[in-house]
């Protein structure tokens, strides 16, 4: 690889290391595994650099590689299924609920928020992480995950509701939030 090509690769790819590491961390659930996954991703990206079209979205391309590496080499080593019922979607908060505006979210510690994110099934977690934690647009997520934009939106909707339900239950169980009044 020529020196100018290396320089372009560094300019295009290295600014996304934080994003890649955070996505890898949420996919693998482990810092050491995340670092290995990012290194594998960068090596693969470097070797495939000729196939990258200048002017296209390097972040989306790198996320695609990372995700493929994860599916092919990592997912099978991962934790067992979460056991979350993805068919049962909690309702949005009712104005009569304690704290319908979600002020309790600010009281939660990072570890608990991340634990709840990590407990989501892979397909839902990756959409939520890319959209709501890393700020990628729908179209970029759809391109990275090779799924339609509509699927991105529906997975995101369900992932958010389930995660909110989990965090609300945790807040109630630890006294951060009063449980809802029983219906008459």
């Amino acid at each position: 690889m020529s020196s100018p090509a290396v320089a372009v690769f560094e300019d295009e790819a290295l600014p996304h290391l934080d994003t890649l590491y955070r996505v890898a961390l949420r996919l693998t659930g482990d810092s050491s595994a995340a670092q290995d996954l990012v290194q594998d991703t960068m090596l693969r990206a470097l070797r495939g650099w000729k196939s990258f079209r200048p002017g296209s979205n390097a972040r989306a391309w790198l996320v695609t590689i990372l995700r493929n590496q994860f599916i092919n080499g990592w997912r099978s080593q991962k934790r067992s299924p979460s056991g979350i019922d993805m068919e049962s979607i909690p309702e949005p908060p009712d104005p009569q609920d304690p704290d319908p505006e979600g002020r309790f979210f600010t009281e939660l510690v990072d570890e608990e928020v991340l634990r709840a994110v990590d407990s989501l099934p892979d397909d839902f977690r990756e959409v939520l992480v890319l959209s709501d934690m890393e700020g990628l647009p729908y179209a970029e997520i759809a391109a990275s995950l090779e799924i339609p934009v509509g699927t991105v939106k529906s997975r995101l909707f369900r992932a958010r509701r389930i995660l909110q339900g989990q965090l609300r239950r945790y807040a109630e169980s630890t006294g951060l939030l009063a449980p809802p009044e029983p219906a008459d």
Partner: protein, 81 residues
């Protein structure tokens, strides 16, 4: 069961937040949020939730050790090829 206008508002909130809603829909949603306590509360709820997710994510950044290893990989690959 939510009224249809509230269902519609909840479905549009994400595009509203991203600035991806057509101008007419944006205006209609703003008017609905001014009038509907439930949907206004829900908007605040979603914002609090999303702010919390971003804050939790941003506390992690690429470790220096990983950054150094990536530079080593690039140097080795450019030497070998």
């Amino acid at each position: 069961m939510l009224p249809p206008e509230c269902e519609m508002a909840l479905q549009q909130l994400d595009a509203f937040r991203r600035g991806e809603l057509p101008p007419d829909d944006m205006q209609s949603l703003r008017m609905h949020l001014d009038e509907c306590r439930r949907c206004f509360s829900y908007k605040l709820h979603e914002e609090a939730f999303l702010d919390r997710l971003v804050a939790a994510a941003r506390n992690a950044s690429c470790p220096e050790e990983l950054r150094a290893n990536v530079y080593r990989i690039i140097a080795k690959e450019s030497r070998d090829n």
